[in-house]
């Protein structure tokens, strides 16, 4: 009468589609929450998932219902001291109007917001949605230098080591069946006649006729056997093709001024910018290398810890860092194999005579090789000549070169978005 079924191993996540529909519908709200989270959170836990809060009225599904007012009688349990005819003031919050909560009970569960969690992946997806590096579409195939061999079925020609034995023999078998059909049919026919004759008593059997049949059978048999067991025609080879693989490697250069004018807070802002870029690249490339180049009057390649936290003083010559970057690219990161991104952060200080050298280096040695070069200037003061010099570079290379100005930490994300905004015409 009863069937008992174990469903525990059945497909889980039946609600995934509905959940996605929900996220899709409230995309705007979730994006806003994500942006706020990026403002508020310390950079180290940006990668966690996030909590999203939506005002409940925005997601409610309206239905016809009674509003406040009119005559309303409700029954409650647990009477203690009331008798018929007692009158008293309405409880605060006007709960009597049909909500079922006639009495003031501080449940605190009224019009709260709708809060839910999105996973880390979803968080990052929302964070980077609509952002697109101009050349993010992985390097064009023509640039790709690496190839991968993949199997692509079978072919009738090829080198002996790629011979597929099972397929070849199967083809041979099929051919033999197809070509030998006529003879075998005839042989069967003749055998039947022969058996019929053999079944007769030995005295009556027509000897010559039987001999003739036997000869005919032997001849046909021979003919059938003459079909080759295997023919060139039967051979099958594994077909391998070479497909070009777009490069999925990226290198990101973090270039930062560490001269005396850069305070720790400016460095923190810069760090956030670098990390955002890193997270962003991480979502698009399988393998990312980081190169940290810091400079004051000299540039030096350092590790991450030293990059962000060691103290330096001195003047500023930006070109030294660009020079080093260009050298490293030439030595280690061929643009054919690598997608190269450079992010430079500075407070805008530079030795006056150097700025022209910088733009020269950028235009001649760097920008042609990189996917993207982003410059952020973190300062509250007026722009100095480096900025104006860079503006000219920007005009010359509008697709590869981007620059922005930041004054405090809260601005990073919007600026980041602005820098990497989807540029439909630019990306073409």
């Amino acid at each position: 009468m009863s069937y008992i079924i174990d469903r525990r191993l059945n497909a889980k996540k039946k609600s995934t589609v509905n959940r996605q529909r929900f996220l899709r519908r409230y995309k705007q709200h979730i994006k806003r929450a994500v942006e706020e989270a990026i403002h508020d959170r310390s950079i180290s836990d940006i990668e966690r998932g996030g909590e999203v809060t939506i005002p409940r009225r925005d997601i409610s599904e309206p239905i016809f219902h009674h509003g406040k007012g009119g005559r309303n009688t409700r029954i409650y349990p647990g009477n203690k001291e009331f008798i018929t005819g007692d009158e008293f003031q309405r409880p605060q919050g006007g709960g009597g109007g049909g909500s079922g909560q006639g009495k003031a009970s501080n449940q605190g569960e009224g019009e709260d917001n709708f809060t839910f969690t999105i996973s880390q992946d979803e968080f990052l997806d929302f964070m980077f949605e609509d952002l697109e590096l101009p050349y993010l579409v992985r390097k064009q195939l023509k640039d790709a230098t690496s190839f991968e061999t993949r199997r692509a079925g079978f072919s009738t020609s090829g080198s002996p080591e790629k011979l597929h034995i099972v397929r070849s023999l199967r083809a041979a078998h099929a051919r033999r069946i197809a070509l030998g059909g006529e003879e075998r049919k005839e042989i069967r026919e003749l055998r039947k006649q022969l058996w019929a004759l053999e079944a007769l008593p030995a005295a009556e059997a027509p000897k010559e006729e039987m001999q003739a049949l036997r000869d005919k059978i032997a001849e046909l048999d021979k003919k059938a056997r003459r079909l080759p067991f295997i023919d060139d025609f039967d051979l099958r080879y594994n077909n391998l093709i070479r497909v070009p693989v777009p490069s999925s490697k990226a290198v990101m250069f973090c270039v930062m001024d560490v001269s005396g004018s850069m305070t720790q807070s400016i460095k923190d802002i810069a760090k956030r910018f670098f990390i955002l870029l890193y997270l962003f690249l991480e979502r698009n490339y399988k393998q990312i290398e980081l190169v940290f180049v810091r400079h004051h009057t000299h540039a030096k390649e350092v590790d991450e810890q030293e990059f962000f936290y060691s103290r330096e003083t001195g003047g500023t010559i930006v070109s030294s860092a660009l020079q080093l970057t260009a050298d490293i690219i030439d030595a280690r990161y061929s643009p054919a194999d690598w997608n190269i991104y450079v992010a430079q952060a500075s407070d805008g200080d530079n030795w006056d005579g150097d700025s022209a050298t910088c733009s020269d280096l950028l235009m001649k040695r760097i920008l042609k090789k990189v996917q993207y070069f982003a410059y952020v200037e973190i300062t509250t003061g007026p722009h100095q000549n480096l900025w104006y010099e860079y503006e000219q570079v920007h005009d010359a290379f509008p697709d590869e070169f981007a620059m922005q100005h930041i004054t405090d930490a809260g601005e990073i994300y919007p600026v980041f978005r602005k820098l990497f905004e989807k540029r439909t015409e630019g990306a073409a």
Binding site: M1, S2, Y3, I4, I5, D6, R7, R8, N10, K12, K13, K14, S15, V17, N18, R19, R21, F22, L23, R24, R25, E61, P62, I63, F64, H65, H66, G67, K68, G69, G70, R71, N72, T73, R74, I75, Y76, P77, G78, N79, K80, F82, I83, T84, D86, E87, Q89, R90, G96, G97, G100, Q101, G102, K103, S105, N106, Q107, T115, F116, T117
Partner: protein, 508 residues
Amino acid sequence: MSATKKRRPISTGSEWTFDLIEEYDREIGRVAKNFGLDTYPNQIEVITSEQMMDAYASIGMPLNYNHWSFGKQFVETEQNYKRGRMGLAYEIVINSNPCIAYLMEENTITMQALVIAHACYGHNSFFKGNYLFQTWTDASAIIDYLLFAKNYISQCEERYGFDEVESLLDSCHALMNYGVNRYKRPRPLTATEERERQMAREEYIQRHLNDLWNTIPRKEISPEEKVIRYPKEPEENLLYFIEKNAPLLEPWQREIIRIVRKIAQYFYPQKQTQVMNEGWATFWHYTLLHQLYDEGLVTDGFMMEFLHSHSSVIYQPPFDSPYFSGINPYTLGFHMMSDIRRICEKPTDEDREWFPDIAGSNWIETLDRAMRNYKDESFIMQFLSPRLMRELRLFAILDDAERPTLRVDAIHDEMGYRALREQLSAQYNLGNREPNIQVYNVNVRGDRSLTLRHYMHNNQPLGESTDEVLKHVHRLWGFDVLLESVTPDNKVSQAYHCPPKEISIELA
């Protein structure tokens, strides 16, 4: 008794196995049969808590079409569950044939037995026996229908786009409560019946009327009455009316409206029998498991655990408790069912006075009759006893917007019993809970605008989301929509328009 006491308990530990579930099910089924419970065959499915949340999100059904609101429900359940703010139900049971019941794997064997008794025999027999379910739902077809609906809607999404289908479903959901038939339509007449009736009418007219001799003065028909409305009779099933009459809908849109309507109709009896259904199931799990205990099939420890969850299920927080959120249907239902049994078995003088026809009768038959022929509203009206009102200490509060204070209208005393019972019954009347809105007229010859009328009950106005819902009606209807709140003396007290009507300034 001594013979039955010798029997060994089915289990002693708290872990469950499929064999044990099977054995409990067999024993409970046997006992239930002895009590005369008539059920659909059971399909008991063991699921994980995650799957339970999925089931929650698709209104308890094993499959359903996709819509963002189910995703919202899922996200909310998941969030609350993960934070420990709510536990999941121990079971979900579906009115289908076979009757599908979900058991959570986290439950102990005691809980599994409780759930089997509650869902697979309690709810199941209610689904099979109650007249509302029999009239309005088709247990053997629902799963197939949902499968059809799911496929159909996903095809529509492919063909006409997500957004299009989603907004249509939004609009349908907004009117879902107004997509049910409350009364069965009369069966259409057959041709012979029609002919017979027509002949009978003719004969009657022949005999009674001869216009030449008619001396009764003809009544003047006022011009107001001459206006023929469409539909002739007001229609309360808004979705049905829209499906059949909205001028601009495509066939697939009508089909989707129909799907939502059918599903609403399927759930309609559940909304009207919450107290009875839960009361019935709770009463039976209590009775069945006690019977097992009497037969020595379950241990004392089992009963302790069972009674612990049973009593928390039927706990009714008093009105001033922070946990109070209305009358607990389990409490009311369970007590009323037990009370009927008490009235049958040990009636007092009061019971004899109030319930002369059931006091002292066979309790199994009486309960069965009650289960089959009532819904919450009528069940309370018929069977709520003064004794139970005293036990629950019920009282009525009158909240009249025109008076500055609330008033205690009735309490559990001689003068208040009938008023209390009537009020509580009215509280479960869906017609009072939901505003009564009907299609009043369509301007067929003019701008095709649709007029809905809200017949006010106790002078209660419509809530603040009315304009939002009207937008949905407008989306479905395709032309102007007007909603009027009408007082009992036929005056329009408030009117809503969609699109909002511009105030026309007449120049003098």
